[in-house]
Amino acid sequence: MSAIVQQDPALLETNPPLVLGNPSYHDLSERISTIIEPEIGQTPMKYWITLGVTASITGLLGAMLTYLAVTGIGVWGNNRPVGWAWDITNFVFWIGIGHAGTLISAILFLFRQKWRTSINRSAEAMTLFAVMCAGIFPLFHTGRPWRAYWLFPVPNTDHNVWQNFRSPLVWDVFAVSTYFTVSLLFWFTGLVPDLATLRDRAVTKIRQWVFGFFSLGWRGSARHWRNYEAAYLILAGISTPLVLSVHSVVSFDFATSVIPGWHTTIFPPYFVAGAIFSGFACVMTLLLIARWTLNLQDLITMKHLENMNKIILVTGSIVGYAYCTEFFIAWYSGNIYERFTFLNRAFGPYWWAAWSMYTCNVFIPQLYWFKKLRTNLWVMFIISITTNIGMWFERFVIIATSLTRDFLPSSWWFFHPTWVDMCTFLGTIGLFLTLFLVFARFLPLIAISEVKGVRATEKHVFPAEAGEMVA
């Protein structure tokens, strides 16, 4: 196949190699393992400073949750009629972010998209951490987090009532807990061969023990690989409908109610597209930082970043299309409450939130139609952040505009977040970043064995000179 590349250099332009610099398999082990292998004492100071900052913010989260648990959820700004406020906004926001990890690891795997290999490990880790952050909000919104086991169908003596399985809130418990568990199993399955690589490279006793334990005695036997690939395919196959179901079920929390602006059948696909949109933006933010600080330009190439930007463009446009459909249906349905809700959304008291969301989610990503912009690191960094601001506003707009202005003007009210609301949300960002930093320091950020597999096929497509040339 190398002959093809030589005959047609334009192919290099459209399909550049995914691993640059013509590395050997050993180079790849070295490249990824040496990031995490130095002794604790040799970790750069900037890492500790960053970790110190994020860990302090996580401490703030702990303080806020303790304060809430001992006082009551009145410390949040929730009121009547806004019973779901920042907490459910943040819950949907974090769950949505997680969805990109599963999309990258499962859906792109089924579509045989080789460019997923350099980014799937960190995206999957991001999923786990985002779902952890998400879980905090409904848990503390119950007001009595120590009674959380009431959410699960566990026989118990302190009340004899079973869960109401007709409620989408119970479906949510099942969907989110299944999502976390399956994502964890998928992530760990992918990690096992890499842990074996680290085990075999380990020089210190403690690393030999820890990696020896967690690699489960993996030795890369061909018989094992065959079962492993079958398992990976099954996990990808079930994660694909799972990820679509999770945000669909989250949207049922809204869609099965009778509130104007919520009671619509468009919600499941619209929520899923928004989730993937925000999640890809978050993966982008984290990867750009990792790429800069750890010099991963040869593994996370411009091709990877550009492909992700294309997905952000597609999902952002789907979200924009969903916004238009909502407006159209509000008008076309002839339902006066629905019409009022949407006019109120755009021109009512929350107009600034609604227009932030339209700007960040619909207009700004359209810049990615231009190759110059979608291959510019600064542009993509800024858009990755505005996207997440926009998607946070989307959830806030859906919740706040509908609840503050429902059918009866006598029950109209407004929502103001308290300082506890703000610090709790900030705290989950701290927790998310802390977990990610710890992950990046102690586990391989890039799937070593999968990148080697990509390299093995690319070796034939790209002769050594081509690899050098592009690098």
């Binding site: 082990s29 030795r219 492993y228």
Partner: protein, 205 residues
């Protein structure tokens, strides 16, 4: 009741011991060479061949005769168990009219009347049915895959090969196992050398 453990029987069972041979092992630098060599070794009449590689090698299953994975059959059984468990759970938790029957067994559901909705219906049970199917499938896949592979384990005789640690890095190992009917240590090692393997060793169990 204490079962007396006979070390020698146990060693025999596990194929471990000073007098035991695990097989002949050699290494290759490229996956393509491994596949070519594997195929030649199989053509020589060996049946118990294994390979070790840092990533799944394309074509090796066919070359050395790795049987297809049976994992799917195990998993589908547990997937359906998950669906059944979800249906049973929701039916039981809400099934009012059956309470007197269930009470005889000391079990009580709790029929909640909410909005006049039925105590059980297939339509509202679908999300939980789906999630539990997926959950059971994931556990069956994860546990099943490692169980079929005989993992986790702390020791494997292939670890005695001098380059065993490179099988997770950049070397592709080929093994002719000692339980192959055609195996004799010197012959197997020579056969491995003849197909281009380097650092060939007869590895102890």
């Amino acid at each position: 009741m204490a079962v007396p453990i006979d070390i020698d029987t146990l060693r025999d069972k596990l194929g471990i011991g000073d007098d035991k041979v695990y097989g002949a092992m050699g290494e290759f630098a490229e996956p393509e060479d491994l596949v070519k060599a594997g195929r030649k070794i199989r053509e020589m009449g060996y049946t118990r061949i294994d390979a070790m590689s840092p990533f799944p090698v394309h074509g090796i299953d066919d070359a050395i005769g790795v049987p297809a994975s049976k994992l799917g059959w195990i998993v589908i059984f547990f997937s359906l168990t998950g669906t059944a468990a979800a249906l049973l759970l929701q039916w039981y938790a809400g099934a009012g009219p059956l309470n007197t029957f269930l009470l005889k067994f000391g079990l009580s559901g709790y029929p909640l009347t909410i909005g006049g909705k039925p105590f059980f219906d297939l339509s509202y049970s679908i999300p939980v049915d789906f999630e539990l199917t997926i959950l059971f499938t994931a556990f069956a896949t994860f546990i099943g895959m490692f169980a079929i592979n005989g993992l986790p384990r702390l020791y494997h005789p292939s670890m005695n090969y001098r380059n065993a640690h490179r099988a997770t890095d950049d070397r592709f190992l080929l093994v002719i196992e000692a339980d192959d009917p055609n195996f004799s240590p010197a012959k197997a090692a020579d056969d491995l050398r003849s197909v281009g393997a380097r650092d060939v060793e007869v590895v102890e169990g």
